[in-house]
Amino acid sequence: MSDTEDLVSLPESEAPTRTDLLVVDHVTLRFGGVVALDDVSFEVRRGEILGLIGPNGAGKTTCFNAMTGVYRPTSGEVRFDGDRVSGRKPHQINRLGIARTFQNIRLFPEMTALENVMVGTDSQHFTSVPGALFRLYRKRPKPEELPVVDSHNGLVRAWQQTRLVFAKVFGISRHTLEERAGEQKALALLRFVGIADRANELARNLPYGYQRRLEIARALATEPKLLCLDEPAAGFNPAEKEQLLKLIRDIRDKGYTVLLIEHDMRLVMGVTDRIVVLEFGKKIAEGTPAEVRDNPKVIAAYLGVPADAS
């Protein structure tokens, strides 16, 4: 344990290159006798959509987990923006700028969609525990931040008036302001992914497609530099896949770098800039979609023909 904590603070010897956001550097991962990843190297460049594909069991998700710090590579390392990823705690990796979604949806089922996204926005906020408990750190509110008095119900109106006076006299706590900012940002993200109409429903009650989009919104809420999507189209029909493609492009156009794991070849071909292909834990090809599509090894891997059969 102690050695990993030392590693975290070590300055990186290798200067980060300008274009590479994430570098997977000769990563090998063994579980007992099983080699899940065998000397895999590739990089994710800033502003691109990189596809990571391969048949089932090829090690895509394992690779993903190594990149997001869930697993620690047996040898080799993963660097993000020049910083070593392994050895950090998951929330620190998130703070570095990596956010992800899950192949099997993992939302917080008993929270509303909005709250799910706000868990993400919270990672950007600064209120301390005493600050949230006692609300002593207060700011003089700007006019637009004051509570509105708009009810026609006398009692409610009186309550709103009281709050207005209170806010004018004592100011508004930073916690409240951050909560509101977080809520606004979360709502904007829900609109961006197209599910704002059910923001206040419990996540477990949302339809499947909404849940997938909610995961993306929650990941974006942490303001990542790299968004990793693990089979986001699993279980989607063609029309839904088309919408998802558009969403992924929109995300890239907003300046995010996207890593996409997928085994639906058509989806990957249609949206990615480059593709890395894994099979049995090894990288067998890398290149543009067109290059990869014509690569005999890839065809063999997907169609089950031995690569060296000729």
Partner: protein, 318 residues
Amino acid sequence: MKGIFVDFDALFGHLGQHTVDGLSKGSIYALVALGYTLVYGVLRLINFAHSEVFMIGTFTVVGTWSVLGATDSPAIGTVILLLLAGLVAAAAVSGATAVAVERVAYRRLRRMNAPPLIFLITAIGLSLVLSEAFGIWQGRLVKGMPTVIERSVLFTIGNTEVTNVQVITVLAALIMMFGLDVFINRTRYGRGVRAVAQDPDTAALMGVNKDRVIALIFLLGGLLAGAAALLYCVRYGNTRFNVGFVLGLKAFTAAVLGGIGNLRGALLGGLLLGVVEVYAATLTSSAWEDVAAFVVLVVVLLFRPTGLLGESLGRARA
């Protein structure tokens, strides 16, 4: 003939009186129960050392009052000062103890992914260590303290007399419960707590600092146990090195009764248990109150295995 003598007149003749008494007794259970339920909701761990966190709180109150030179029934200004000082000191010391318990005993086990049984044994061991250490340090006899609030009847409804101590106890518990509810449901840390309770690994990947959330729930549990300790001192006027044992057991029972992991369940379970105990003590004798408490637990769990309000901190939302 010797047997159980059931005195219905004693109970129903003063039903209101016994209910009020039970509620004030139950408020203390509820505050301690919240500590069990918070930790269980997030870690699925029964923190048996929590009863000692409470015990240390009561000794802190004794110490604070003796430092401040408390006497029997002082002037009203002094009463308020003593109560506030006792509350702040007990909450601070209990909170710090609870956080220290997590740091020293549980955090390393969590890092090593120890099986649940190991946590449980550690918790029991730690509970014994703390209480016996206080037995050696403070002696094993009951420790008295000045009666800071002289019990007096505040108001009367029918034949029910409500005393100042009862009002203070119940109000304090309700206020703290309300505060905790707001904190868990409407603040960023509360959201973090609920996220970790529902899916710790995912929460961590979304930027929630798991260790911090866990330290936080121990702190909150400790603060509430400190408050409970003050109320206990006001109500009973004495403490002992093993005061946490039975009270902790009752509070844990209250948490299970309401649905462990459920904050509102802890409140409901605590109040209910207090009332049941007082009723049972009135019907027969106080020797039977513990029997009644656990019989109610068994019966409730037979019909609702997850407790009255169901479990899971994640579900305990507005």
